[in-house]
Symmetry: D3
Subunit: 68 residues, 6 copies
Amino acid sequence: MPYVNIKVTGGKEAPTEQQKAEIIEGVTELLQKVLHKNSETTVVIIDEVDMDNWGIGGKTVTARRTMK
Amino acid sequence: MPYVNIKVTGGKEAPTEQQKAEIIEGVTELLQKVLHKNSETTVVIIDEVDMDNWGIGGKTVTARRTMK
Amino acid sequence: MPYVNIKVTGGKEAPTEQQKAEIIEGVTELLQKVLHKNSETTVVIIDEVDMDNWGIGGKTVTARRTMK
Amino acid sequence: MPYVNIKVTGGKEAPTEQQKAEIIEGVTELLQKVLHKNSETTVVIIDEVDMDNWGIGGKTVTARRTMK
Amino acid sequence: MPYVNIKVTGGKEAPTEQQKAEIIEGVTELLQKVLHKNSETTVVIIDEVDMDNWGIGGKTVTARRTMK
Amino acid sequence: MPYVNIKVTGGKEAPTEQQKAEIIEGVTELLQKVLHKNSETTVVIIDEVDMDNWGIGGKTVTARRTMK
């Protein structure tokens, strides 16, 4: 019955459909293995966040990627 | 003053503008009726989540809809 | 399959066990009625937030309640 | 190490790239100043929410903007 | 840089300190393996939710556990 | 009308009542100044997260504080 929300950068860094399926399967298995949670009712939601809308260290990811 | 966040599947399963208005009105009334909360400051945010990004039972909704 | 998160003030304003059950039942029914969502897999999580930790209009709820 | 999520209306009311950068910088500085948190690991995520999907006072923002 | 939030039932069903450490390690590794995300900046937050405050199928988990 | 959620470590690192009031006031002012948002309806919720429940770099904050 757990609920999981995963936020990653989107746009050109967005995960593929295949990668999203692997993450959903992997997290669900992990919670089943470690906490014995029922996989059938485990919910996972992935949010893809625009790089202009994600900040770390006081700067947007867009600005950080440009600086490198 | 309550804050409510509702996540539903989007894309071709997305709620219509009318349905979203009904949900917002209905949740706000429910909290007023049960908890006597001030409707004027009740906030409701609806997120429409892509079916590739929503997993249940270890699989994406996209994969589950295809299996049926 | 919807996921709902409801935040209300806790502490001495916290909803009772009965009120929480009514809210969970009411929101689940509303989503079934308006969006034809499967009630069996609808998840509702209620967070009770301390009045020192909730701000509106730039002030904590604790401060606002005192002012009245 | 704090995590901050800010939701604002999007669409024609969406913040510009410059405004998003200012908010990310401002919140990060505030948490550094008040709580002495390490700015380098402070994460800020801004969500732009469609006006049909945001309700306040039991009505969508779309409906409220029209009424004025 | 991903951000992960995991909600599980708390109280007498709460994960142990050891289980929480395993979940944090496991999710971080999964995102590193599948998406090549930097483990050093991956954030995972676990919320333990009271069984009165978690509803599924229109009933609280407390009520469902009692029915069994 | 913005909604802001801030998560910081709790327990012995928890912000004081005064610090929480300053953060709520500061974030509300920032959104008013940068985005011209109405302060009266800006909502800020602060979550204090147990150090066993917060992971970064694959380890709990509890484990990281001990290593130092």
